[in-house]
Symmetry: C2
Subunit: 501 residues, 2 copies
Amino acid sequence: MTHALPGSADALTKPETRSAAGIARSIREADRAVSSLREFHAWFAAYVERESSEIRRIPFNKLKGWRFEEPHGNLVHESGKFFSVQGLRFRNASGAVPEWDQPIINQPEVGVLGILVKEFDGIPHCLMQAKMEPGNHNKVQISPTVQATRSNYTRVHGGRPVPYLDFFRNASRHQVLADVLQSEQGSWFYRKRNRNIIVATSDDVELLDGFYWLSVGQLHALLSVDDLVNMDSRSVMACFPLTSPSPSGPWAFDGAPAAPWPVEDASIGSALARSLDPGYGALHSPGSVRNWFTGARGGFTGEAHLVDLGSVRNWQRSEDRISHDRGVFFDVMAVDVRTGSREVASWTQPMIEARGQGVAAFLVQRIGGVLHVLVRVGSEPGFMDAVELAPTVQCTPENYAVLPSEAAPPFLDEVLHAPADAVHFDTVLSEEGGRFFHTRSRYLIVELRAERELVEPDDFRWLTVHQLSDLVQHSNYLNIQARTLLACLHSLLGPAGGECT
Amino acid sequence: MTHALPGSADALTKPETRSAAGIARSIREADRAVSSLREFHAWFAAYVERESSEIRRIPFNKLKGWRFEEPHGNLVHESGKFFSVQGLRFRNASGAVPEWDQPIINQPEVGVLGILVKEFDGIPHCLMQAKMEPGNHNKVQISPTVQATRSNYTRVHGGRPVPYLDFFRNASRHQVLADVLQSEQGSWFYRKRNRNIIVATSDDVELLDGFYWLSVGQLHALLSVDDLVNMDSRSVMACFPLTSPSPSGPWAFDGAPAAPWPVEDASIGSALARSLDPGYGALHSPGSVRNWFTGARGGFTGEAHLVDLGSVRNWQRSEDRISHDRGVFFDVMAVDVRTGSREVASWTQPMIEARGQGVAAFLVQRIGGVLHVLVRVGSEPGFMDAVELAPTVQCTPENYAVLPSEAAPPFLDEVLHAPADAVHFDTVLSEEGGRFFHTRSRYLIVELRAERELVEPDDFRWLTVHQLSDLVQHSNYLNIQARTLLACLHSLLGPAGGECT
């Protein structure tokens, strides 16, 4: 690669807030989108109508190409690709549960989750896809432009090429708004990460069957529909660059673009907009946040290592599932898939099916008028780097029946028993339908309004949204549930100040 | 932890550039330091004079508490603590050398490298330590306030407590300027990271024997003395927060502090100062840098795993060393240490002794008047996360005699044969004396002045210093050699515009 001569200042890219301003227009001016949400829903319903896939639970011995390899008992694919189900042994002497075994998905490949963005009439739009995934209880959800494992895009399965992939594999020809390796569920995946990438192009883009242009504001509105915007979309959406000084804020400077957000009224949207502008301040300085996080990561004493699935203690394998002795946590099971809408017409695969519905919630609070989010630093056994930031509450309440009381999550009561007007977001969303079968969580954003002192147990901190947004641009800071909630939080910026319907 | 009531904006910390301004004073006003460099050198010489340690090479069978455990042949300590020497097998089908074995140090504990900062008469000073380490060919070098493995500070060896440790373990009572887990040599360590932390206090600090207050400018001046500022000091110094908008620069805003740097003249210091201010721009946008780095990390296909030291191919163990068949790379050897100046009076330990002197260099260039640094993204077998940013050139020239020509480092000629006036930094510095025996590298900063197009091979990019400084605040971006060179680069900000003597 060669560039202009070094003497030329024209060669330099100046710090820019245009992207944030564009995304802001795409959020606030939802009525300027190329289609209305009504049109989208009609298109989506027609797609779902046409989509004729059949997904059936099958016993393990009906899996094709998959087997429990002896003597280890790991569930593997004959190609050695895709993923395998192995065992994990986790030890953490200082944890509420000092040691356990569990099955875990080992998928070392890094996949691509990409959203392609293009402006129409000055409003950036996201190219989203209606996609069937076998684990979705409603089969079809909205996914990113590209959602492909390396096995997909190198076409190990001999399927069709992945549309639009070239925009992401050759992203340097376009404008890259975000590009970061993000973790997925550390309870179910061993060190899994996907590349989350947002690319803005000014090229012509052919609109293929099954794809639809939505503004960011429309995507935000759709987040509050149960089981519609899939996990991968939410993960990428969390990486949209929204942080920027607001010209009406205290940190305004010359050359800032048109005001992205109103910050003057008493709405949650204004408190959130102030939280996106570093100039309004934060309860904790950047150094203090780093000190807290690095202390937790550096001081972590847990260890996880892969073991043979056949040697995992307290789990039993039957004909059609691997389950915990006490009937909690999750099962490993298998499905048969027949479809006309994917790269390959039929296949079988193992999946994970959670027992019980998860709860993931951000407690938020206005501190000096600036919205703060209570995040927890915590470990999950499959994390590649010890700890990440998690929601205030992240649990499956049913599991606590078999766990010591110290393991019960703080703040669960505040979240589940908040007054209705304190609940800004409350939607049931699906976890990734390519690996998880009918596995859903209730995502909540709940505001604390009591005039009381701000409590911060050691592993919790009240952070601003710009602090979270800065961290999410780097790997292994925000876990997947926190990223979903960050995307949901962004949706409170919507045109009606939080009423996103 | 509890805080003020949420309604109060007083509770919030505003973005501040005071720290950067303080560090700037500490760099530019070296004559306001509490002692002169002449006084420091006299003190240091007297310390060295008094320091009476004896370090001898010994055969492995004279190690006390260490043994080659059977049947694996790993070199371990009887406590199971400290570290072990094991084997590593590295495979990377797309690398110039697709597979090799080597010995490697496995030290999973996270140690603390901390510099304590305190203002005297408005000038921040760093509390530095004269410390004997057995691998230093000159025995005593300047180390951070605290340089302690977890075994040290939990006193596994039954030694004396680590002075000043409490400032870092309870850093939240002070101001934290940096706190980040940083990697060390991926060629010699398996996934090693240390916590690099800078804490500013306004408490009274007792000055213990062996410690000395130096301004940052004085530390910078000392960097250009061969083998004086040790590796751990350099690593922490790289994390000093220096990036900030310069009020005379294009991105100035109200409330910015007094100008930290002059940016108007034609000196290398001014080009560097402009490079610290995001407002002057950069050749590559943040999105483009992330795209390049994430592409390299996500696309990395190498794998490393620990193997038994006894099974490492192409390495031979004799009575007193483990060496490569062709006499290159490094040896594992052992030393006996007797000293009066450390927590423990005598001990034995294995070390790594490199063959040949390393070369690590940054090529720099002014692009539009803004200093840019050519960094490379590359893998080292012990990295925990695939790739990190490395110097333009990082190699031991002698090793290339036995490697394929594709492995030879680009830009080595430009670095070694630059005209004298293009060489801004050229000093031989020691690698960590606690693990590496007489292992030294020549660190260079060389300016490209030719009026030619800027070449960027795929794995190289020209980045500004503020881009590097932002990344160094997060783990696993800049490798240890790049951090040393970043600290050396900072030293060109010095009062005499690069003449730091």
